[in-house]
Symmetry: D2
């Protein structure tokens, strides 16, 4: 008989996945009031951090498929949160940047994310939080090596 | 001017999301050799843990939409990893359980997940890992309260 | 002008020393009711752990000077907590072992130490305590290398 | 039969004491080259932090007996590291302060302590060290409440 029982203690990877799913669910609910989806918020964050990106670059940096990136960008364009312009060095490539309204919206989204973060970390020692963060960065490095 | 710069230190929630995405990517690659997707592996795990479940119960417990659950179960049925039978107490409800082949497959998937976990945690103090896990459970509880 | 200000954050070594001094003070107060000093308790613990020791061995294992060890052993002998007997393999060496009364006394001392430990660790995550302990063992190793 | 075996895992209080004794031993060895004892270094640190203190205040703040404080201060006076002067507000009380030579000596002692600290903490995550320090402060508070 094969042992298919879950091990007595769940994998840390499973605990990480469960927490991430819960954060995503709560943040998605918060963003709904602003008529923004989580992938749209992620795209706005990535664009703001990089200044301007092509469709392909955005997809790569956001870990999403190019066709998904395309749909997200169309929606953000239509909502007036980003705008298109030609790449100054490669005229045929179209880059996206945030409009002023996009910047305002992003700042509000950041605020909502911060509130979820604070709820998640309430009553926790800041040094413990910093240790967990540096440890997770080490785990990420372990997996990439 | 609105401040849209990411805060100097990323949110822990972002670090969690990044690690989870990387684990999912690596595990998906590992499972490909067994012709299993990550959602299929998750469904097999949930079914094994609960004994047997209806389509609706599986969807709820796996955090996926009922229509996605339906597609996953169809694929698992076709691959001979699960089988259908009537709920003994409510004859019209169809429950799913793992076949012997499904149990063997699940054990192999668990082994692959364990290898990713070990790679992720290499050179880390087991007490630190335990502390991170209990802390993330506390964060999950904070978010649910 | 020479900078003699304490660094803004005290050394960890100083925090360790401060905690150790406080634990010693509280445990000494607790032991007073049993008419035992902290060095006597330490000597009883070391003797119990090793079975029997000479004066010189006790001094070395308790980090105390031989003349201090001598005084402690005299007091424990007089209180009937330990007894002397010749080393079976080297007749001229005198070994000390706990009497039955000494064993009873030691068990009571352990109980008092456990109460101080519990007060010290109240409301602390057991995994954090384990991590601190393994980390301090690593620090001890760092200093010995 | 009474159980006098040490518990399988030593108390954290014992691990703390062991580390503290090792730090004291190494620092004492380092200070010997400067012809300073550990209690003298402690007294210099306390005096520097407070500006000036009476014999009684020094004893209280250094956790030592007044007669020990007296001997330490005599040695420091003789070595020219501290000097006496009347308390401006209570003329009959004698206060001690560091001389310039005392300040130079203290700065060198701090440097030696810092080297022991660095050896102790080598290869340790700074966030873990911070967490241990804040946790030990919490333990100290637990014991004082």
């Amino acid at each position: 008989m094969i042992d298919t029982r879950p091990v007595s203690k769940p994998l840390l990877a499973y605990t990480v996945a469960r927490l991430d799913r819960l954060v995503s669910k709560l943040l998605t609910q918060q963003l709904k009031a602003m008529d923004i989806t989580l992938p749209q918020y992620t795209a706005l964050s990535v664009l703001a951090a990089k200044g301007s990106l092509s469709n392909a670059q955005l997809a790569e940096r956001s870990f999403i498929k190019p066709q998904s990136a395309n749909k997200i960008l169309q929606d953000l364009l239509q909502a007036g949160l980003i705008e298109r312009h030609a790449d100054p060095s490669h005229g045929r490539i179209i880059l996206m940047t945030l409009t002023e309204q996009g910047q305002r919206t992003l700042a509000q989204c950041h605020q909502l994310a911060l509130e979820v973060e604070h709820k998640m970390l309430q009553n926790m020692d800041i040094h413990l939080v910093n240790l967990i963060q540096s440890s997770m960065e080490k785990m990420t490095k372990n997996l990439k090596d």
